[in-house]
C-alpha cells in the first residue's frame, strides 16, 4: 500500500471533564492526529452502546469513550455505569468478530489536555495497526472472551 491507512475514530466525551480536557489541549496548542471526531455528551453515563455500534456501522474504525476519573464524576458515580457498559460491549463485540481493541475507555479530567492528546495519538496508532474495520465473521477462538484491559490517564 502506497498510502498510510488513516482510520476514522469517533470519540465520546463528557461535558465536564474530557470535553474540557479537549478544550484545554486546544488552548495549550497540543498537537494530536486529526483522525478523531468528538461527540459531546453530558456524561459518560449517557453513553448508550447503540452510539458505539452506530459509529462502527457507519464507517468508524474505532471508538474512544472518555469520562471523568473514577470517583470524580460530575454526576457523582455515573462514569461507573459507562465502565460496566464498556466491559460488556467489548465482550459482545468479540462475538461479532470485531477486535475489542477498537473500542477504548479513557478517563481524563478537565486538567488533562496533554494526557488526552497523548491517549488520542496512541489510540490512532493502535487502530492504524489494526487496519480498517473488516466485517470478518468470528472464529471459534474469538468467541471466547479475553480479559479486557483498561487504560487510565495517570492523574
Amino acid at each position: 500500500m502506497s498510502e498510510q491507512f488513516e482510520p476514522v475514530i469517533i470519540g465520546f466525551t463528557c461535558n465536564w471533564c474530557s470535553y474540557r480536557a479537549a478544550d484545554m489541549a486546544g488552548t495549550a496548542r497540543i498537537k494530536y492526529p486529526p483522525n478523531v471526531r468528538l461527540v459531546r455528551l453530558m456524561c459518560s453515563g449517557r453513553l448508550d452502546p447503540t452510539f458505539v455500534l452506530k459509529a462502527l456501522s457507519n464507517g468508524a474504525d474505532g471508538v474512544l469513550i472518555t469520562g471523568c476519573h473514577p470517583g470524580e464524576c460530575h454526576y457523582l458515580e455515573q462514569n461507573y455505569k459507562a465502565l460496566r457498559r464498556y466491559h460488556l460491549l467489548r465482550r459482545t463485540l468479540i462475538g461479532f468478530g470485531i477486535e475489542p481493541e477498537r473500542v477504548k475507555l479513557v478517563w481524563a479530567s478537565a486538567a488533562e489536555g496533554v494526557q488526552l492528546a497523548k491517549q488520542i495519538a496512541g489510540f490512532v496508532d493502535e487502530i492504524r495497526a489494526l487496519g480498517p474495520l473488516a466485517w470478518s465473521m468470528p472464529s471459534k477462538q474469538q468467541l471466547v472472551a479475553e480479559p479486557s484491559v483498561m487504560e487510565e490517564v495517570p492523574a
Binding site: D48, P49, T50, L53, K54, L56, S57, P70, E77, Y80, K81, L83, R84, R85, H87, L88, L89, R91, T92, L93, I94, G95, F96, G97, I98, W135, M137, P138, L143, A145, P147, S148, M150
Partner: protein, 332 residues
C-alpha cells in the same frame, strides 16, 4: 377497504408464504381455532403453500395488487426467497412481515454470525456429514435432461424489509395465536368499515411496552452481582423477577404482547417479540440495561460477573441479529 379490479361480490384475497422459516408461524395461524373459519368465510385464500397446492406461476398471473392481505413469514436467505418477496409485494395491497424471521431474522438470522463458508463447512463437511466427495451445492447443475437450478444461498440472511417495502410488522416466534385472532378481527372490522387500519409501518398484534409490563413477578431495585443459568440453580423463586435471581432475562427489552408466557413458567424471556417501539438496536438495549445495574465499580469484579454470560452476542441478538446495527445491511 376497496381494491382495484375486483367485483363487489368477490371475496378479498388472502395469501400466506414462508421463506426461510421453521413453519411455526403457519402452525400459529392454524392454532387460532374456530376463527380460522371466519378467515375462510371472509377471504378467498389464493396462495398458501403449507395449506393448499399452488404454483408460483399462478401468483405471477394475478393482477398486481389483487391480493388484499399477505402474511409473509421467514427471512430472505436465498434468491428464491427474495423473488417471492418481490412477487408478493407486487401482488399484495397489504404485506405483513409476519413473525420474528421476516421482521428481524430470528434464529435463522443467527447464521449472520458465520460466513457462508463456515455454514457450508458445518453442513457439508462436518463429522456428522457423509460427504466423502466433498460436494458443495451449486446453483446450476447440468444433467442429461437439461440444467437443474437450486436457489442461490446469500452470504447473509436479510429481513423482509431489507428487500421490499413492508406495510405492517407482526412480531413473535411465532406470533401468539390470541394476537393473530385480534389482528384478524381488526382486518374483518376494517372490511366491514367499522375500523381503520393503523398507520403504515406500525407493529400490530403486540403491546406498546415490554414484557415486564405483563409479567406478574415481583420486581425490586436491581443490583446484579452474578449471572447464573437455570440449570445451575437449585430452585427458582416463582414470584421474584428472574433477573433479580441472576437469570439473564430479556423481558425488560422485549416488546410486550405474548403475555409474559416464558417468565410465568420459570423460563427467562429470550426476546422473540423483538425490540420496543423506536429502538434502533435491540442487543444494545439489553447490554446497556444489564451493565448499568451490575453492582460493582471494580473492573476485575465486573469481568467476573460478566463471565456468567458465556455468549453475550448470541444472548442479546438471538432474534434480532439480522436487524442489528452490526449485522444488517444499510437500508434506505
Amino acid at each position: 377497504m376497496s381494491h382495484n379490479g375486483s367485483k363487489p361480490t368477490e371475496k378479498p384475497k388472502f395469501a400466506m408464504y414462508w421463506a426461510s422459516s421453521c413453519g411455526g408461524c403457519e402452525i400459529a395461524v392454524l392454532n387460532i381455532g374456530p376463527k380460522i373459519l371466519d378467515v375462510d368465510a371472509a377471504f378467498d385464500v389464493v396462495f398458501w403453500p403449507v395449506a393448499m397446492d399452488a404454483k408460483y406461476k399462478d401468483v405471477e398471473a394475478m393482477d398486481d395488487g389483487s391480493i388484499l392481505l399477505t402474511l409473509f413469514n421467514g427471512g430472505i436467505r436465498n434468491d428464491e426467497n427474495e423473488r417471492l418477496a418481490n412477487l408478493l409485494r407486487r401482488k399484495s395491497q397489504i404485506l405483513v412481515a409476519f413473525g420474528s424471521c421476516a421482521i428481524e431474522g430470528c434464529i435463522p438470522g443467527l447464521a449472520n454470525f458465520s460466513s457462508q463458508d463456515q455454514i457450508f463447512d458445518a453442513v457439508y463437511a462436518s463429522v456428522s456429514t457423509d460427504n466423502a466427495g466433498g460436494i458443495r451445492p451449486k446453483t446450476h447443475t447440468t444433467v442429461p435432461e437439461g440444467i437443474l437450478h437450486i436457489p442461490e444461498f446469500y452470504p447473509v440472511l436479510k429481513t423482509l424489509d431489507q428487500v421490499v417495502d413492508v406495510d405492517y410488522y407482526m412480531p413473535g416466534c411465532p406470533p401468539e395465536s390470541h394476537q393473530i385472532a385480534t389482528v384478524i378481527d381488526l382486518v374483518l372490522a376494517v372490511l366491514e368499515g367499522k375500523a381503520e387500519l393503523p398507520p403504515k409501518g406500525a407493529v400490530i398484534g403486540a403491546g406498546d411496552s415490554t414484557c415486564c409490563d405483563e409479567c406478574p413477578r415481583q420486581r425490586n431495585v436491581k443490583k446484579i452481582t452474578k449471572f447464573v443459568r437455570i440449570h445451575e440453580m437449585d430452585a427458582i423463586d416463582p414470584d421474584l423477577c428472574l433477573l433479580e435471581q441472576g437469570i439473564l432475562c430479556n423481558g425488560m427489552a422485549t416488546r410486550s404482547g405474548c403475555g409474559a408466557l416464558c417468565p410465568q413458567h420459570n423460563a427467562p424471556c429470550i426476546g422473540c417479540y423483538g425490540p420496543a417501539e423506536g429502538v434502533v438496536d435491540y442487543g444494545a438495549r439489553i447490554m446497556s440495561a444489564l451493565a448499568s445495574v451490575i453492582d460493582s465499580r471494580d473492573p476485575d469484579e465486573i469481568e467476573r460477573i460478566l463471565d456468567g454470560i458465556p455468549d453475550p452476542a448470541g444472548s442479546f441478538y438471538r432474534f434480532n441479529l439480522a436487524h442489528s446495527l452490526l449485522r444488517t445491511g444499510k437500508v434506505g
